[in-house]
Amino acid sequence: MIDRLSFRAALLAALLSLAGCASGPGGGIYVPVGGEPAKAPEPPRTSTDTEESEAPVWRKSEQPEAAQEPGEPSRSSSPSYRETGDGLSPAALSLVREAEQLLAQGNVSGAIARLERVQRIAPRSAEVYFKLSEAYVAGNQLGSAEQFTLKGLSLAGSDIRLQRAGWLLLADIRRARGNVAGADQAEARAAAL
């Protein structure tokens, strides 16, 4: 069972490496202190459109000055949310690669230490939690692996590929832990995507 799990984890690893490369650095919601003119906040979205720059009317900077007053209704209907988590920056990716090498050498705790560094610099990226899950699978700590998979899923949002990878990984981990019903459920979620 663990072998199959490792296989799936490895498959996921390959997939995530690609995902990381494709998504590039995230952070459209970064707000620096002073200095540069502030960027517009993440707009709320009603569709799954992920092109940040294409919602000009929501830019706070384009709204009248009066809207800056706290408590003005202009902010009222716009609590912030987004459809997916962040991607991995090149710095984070380089650490993920180091972790992969350590994992390949059987150094599970070394890999976890690297991945925790990634988690600190990219805490909103689903990939890093899936990677941690993979490392915990390799260390046969399936309870932790399951929780990290769930955490990764909470950041996968509308990214179907990430969601499917996460649900399949979760199914395998649950099956390895003897939770057949939970595994079936997770597999069904993956299939429904």
Binding site: K39, V57, Q68, G71, Y81, S94, A113, P123, F148, L153
Partner: protein, 746 residues
């Protein structure tokens, strides 16, 4: 006479046996108690890292970097927002960070153009962490152990040239030097020269008191001979290098050249130059008299004398000696860390350590403790408390007001900063850990979360009744909760009741869902003390410390994942071997969909509700979520909230639990928002969980509506719980047209 001599000899022999035991037992055993060193988290530098130029400079200074050309290891150059930094390299528990020279600029509080210009290339580099404290032996001796083979050769040779020229030839004492010294002293009429060998000096420091008596002198001589009999010269020399007293930092005494080098120059012993070695060797004679920070002229004079001795002994060439004499002392302005800089934080670290380590091991084994303290965040937190508190007092004396601030990394549970009171340097009562105070309305998100986990009964637009009522208990006592403003509003949608912190709806919902269910939610989120079963708990009569509040809000800030708060990442032994790792742990304790709805209302709190005054201080663009809390008569003013990166909990109140004129919004919130306004960070923008859909609704009328209608609001619903009724608005052509154009450009 013979008999007397014999008795004397026997007594002397017995005394020698005793002294021998004393000498060997100390030398055979562990010679030194080495304190544990506590490190801050290392700063990670890479393209996109968020740090301001001033914070980076402060961080460099805290880690003992010197401003300069940026070429020598441990120095940096700053021109405007451009930095060139030469790192010293550091041995981390998970691997070595080699020496590198890096270049970067800071733009808009972000690192840009990061590159390694010398050394192994890497897209991300860790600076060596600042040492933020130590856990010292009872006698407060501090030292960094060095081995003879890692010491620059010039140090022991200079030491011998100045203190004991015949070290390798004598047998512990040098009668000739004693005679010479006596002669010199008689000629001068005062003590100008000491005749002690290095071995005698070591014995004196190691085994004896400082008093000048003949008996002590005799013992010193005997023990020195015994030491030489048993041990190699190099062994004695190495012990001397680590033992010698070289200064004082508060109550902490600086022993050995290893620590002295860090203490005076902020550099490792192996990197010292001739003039620096000369200064340290010169200080052996009188560390406080020749203290280079206090008495720079004396110290310079002494140093130059030593340099001349080095030259005379042929250790350095005359040209080099002349150059060295011409150099400034090169002492760092202040020690690379001062004792007790972060007492509240170190207190929490010690409590965490106490779970796994014995106090005596922490004091003596030279452990290295890698913590999660972020000095830049701590700086901002201390500033926020000390700057805001005096302004809060209003009419009353501000002296009595106290405050705490706990800051954690939202997704990792790492405690980044801790302020335990109005004077952050005061190492006394740690309010962040030990002040258990009623949390007031901070409990409300947990009440509504308990309710929203039943989507068939509660959604964000469910109308809840803001109307007074009386509870009568079996013992005949009556309880009549009230709103803070005393008003009643009839039916209000749930999201509004939470964001405006109305009491009556909260109690009604709590009673409806069940006090026990709310208690279970709190326990799941990390409350580990008994929680009251009385309905008054629904208005926050439950007492918690600020750190516990941070723990339970962690789950609200993420999608319902508990993350144990941590102050320690790793502990290693003195040689760098890992002893314990405290890993990141996550555990899902609530339905992410329900948590998302609560997060919505907590964002609304900041934008329209009780937290909105935060945006007087915080940039409008930084999306925040939070909750105020106030207890009776303003005895406790709380604010707990988060951005995309940070979770912070502020408390303001009085130690004597006396009343204040403050509410959560007027006391703790100003502290909280002043902190948030200073730190570059990401706004809070949660990922919509599976099974949650956003709809435009008229929440007052619980009906789906169109985006451009009046009172339209985009609200999240757990799938299947959204309103079924639809109302449309007629008219408002202008908004319709705007809606139409929005569609065109999307």
């Amino acid at each position: 006479m013979f008999r007397l001599c014999a008795i004397g000899l026997v007594l002397l022999a017995g005394w020698m046996v005793y002294l021998d035991a004393v000498v060997t037992s100390r030398f055979e055993g562990r010679r030194f108690e080495v304190p544990s060193r506590v490190y801050a988290r290392p700063l990670e530098l890479f393209d996109g890292a968020s740090v301001s130029a001033s914070a980076l400079e402060r961080e460099l200074s805290l880690s003992g970097f010197r401003k300069g050309g940026g070429e020598k290891a441990g120095s940096y150059q700053r021109s405007g927002n451009r930095f060139v930094i030469s790192t010293r390299g550091f041995s981390f528990p998970d691997g070595d960070e080699p020496r590198r020279r890096i270049s970067l600029s800071v733009s808009g509080d972000r690192v840009q153009g990061f590159s390694v210009i010398q050394g192994e290339s890497a897209p991300i580099v860790r600076l060596e962490p600042a040492q933020i404290g130590g856990i010292y032996p009872a006698h407060k001796e501090d030292r960094v152990l060095v081995q003879l083979d890692e010491v620059p050769a010039l140090l022991p040779t200079t030491l011998m040239a100045v203190e004991d020229r015949n070290f390798y030839d004598h047998f512990g004492i040098a009668p000739l030097s004693i005679g010479r010294a006596m002669l010199a002293n008689i000629q001068a009429g005062r003590i100008v020269q000491g005749g002690s060998t290095l071995t005698q000096q070591l014995v004196k420091n190691f085994f004896l008191t400082r008093e000048q008596t003949l008996v002590r002198k005799a013992n010193e001589a005997l023990m020195s001979v015994l030491l030489e009999l048993h041990y190699e010269k190099n062994d004695i020399l190495e012990t001397y290098l680590n033992e010698v007293y070289l200064g004082q930092a508060g109550t902490r005494s600086i022993h050995g050249f290893g620590l002295a080098s860090q203490f005076y120059f902020g550099e490792s012993l192996k990197d010292l130059d001739v003039h620096q070695i000369a200064l340290l060797v010169g200080m052996v004679k009188g560390p406080s008299y020749y203290n280079p920070r206090r008495h720079p002229e004396r110290a310079t004079e002494r140093r130059n004398l030593v340099i001349s001795e080095m030259e005379e002994a042929g250790l350095i060439e005359p040209g080099r000696a002349a150059r060295a004499r011409g150099l400034p002392l090169g002492v760092s302005e202040r020690p690379s860390y001062s004792e007790n800089r972060y007492p509240a934080y170190i207190d929490l670290v010690r409590r965490h350590l106490a779970r796994d380590y014995k106090e005596e091991d922490l004091r003596s084994e030279g452990l290295r403790i890698f913590t999660t303290l972020n000095p830049a965040i701590q700086y901002a937190a201390e500033y926020a408390v000390t700057e805001t508190l005096p302004r809060l007092a209003g009419g009353q004396s501000s002296e009595a007001l106290e405050a705490t601030l706990v800051v954690t990394a939202k997704d990792s549970g790492e405690v980044l900063a801790l302020v335990g009171g109005r004077d952050p340097q005061f190492a006394g009562f740690n309010r962040a850990l030990d002040a258990n105070r009623p949390i007031g309305s901070l409990i409300k998100p947990f009440i509504y979360l308990s309710a929203l986990q039943e989507p068939e009964r509660y959604t964000l637009s469910t109308p809840v009744l803001d109307k007074s009522f009386t509870l009568e208990f079996d013992d005949g006592k009556r309880w009549q909760p009230k709103n803070y403003d005393g008003e009643e509003r009839g039916e209000v949608p749930l999201h509004k009741a939470l964001s405006r912190s109305y009491n009556l709806p909260a109690v009604r919902v709590g009673l409806d869902i069940g006090v026990d269910v709310v208690r279970e939610t709190l326990t799941a989120f990390g409350v580990d003390t008994p929680i009251s079963r009385y309905p008054s708990m629904l208005l926050g009569s439950v007492s918690m410390s600020p750190v516990t509040v941070a723990q339970i809000y962690q789950g609200l800030a993420t999608s319902g994942f508990n993350t144990p708060l941590r102050t320690i990442r790793e502990v290693t032994d003195a040689g760098g071997e890992a002893l314990s790792r405290y890993s990141l742990e996550v555990e899902q304790v609530a339905d992410p969909a329900a948590v998302h709805l609560v997060q919505y209302a907590m964002q609304e709190t900041m934008q329209e509700g009780t937290g909105r005054s935060a945006y007087y201080t915080v940039p409008q663009e930084l999306t925040l979520a939070g909750k105020t809390g106030t207890t009776d008569d303003g005895r406790d003013s709380w604010f707990a909230g988060f951005s995309g990166d940070l979770l912070a909990v502020a408390w303001v109140g009085r130690d004597d639990n006396g009343p204040t004129s403050l509410t959560g919004a007027s006391g703790a919130l100003p502290v909280w928002s002043r902190f948030m306004a200073q730190v570059p960070q990401h706004g809070f923008s949660p990922v919509v969980p599976d099974g949650v859909n956003y709809h435009w609704v008229n929440s007052e009328r619980q009906a789906l509506t169109d985006e451009y209608c009046d009172n339209a609001r985009l609200l999240p619903y757990i799938a299947g719980s959204e309103p079924t009724q639809t109302i449309s608005c007629s008219g408002n052509l202008e908004r319709r047209i705007r809606g139409w154009f929005e569609g065109l450009f999307q």
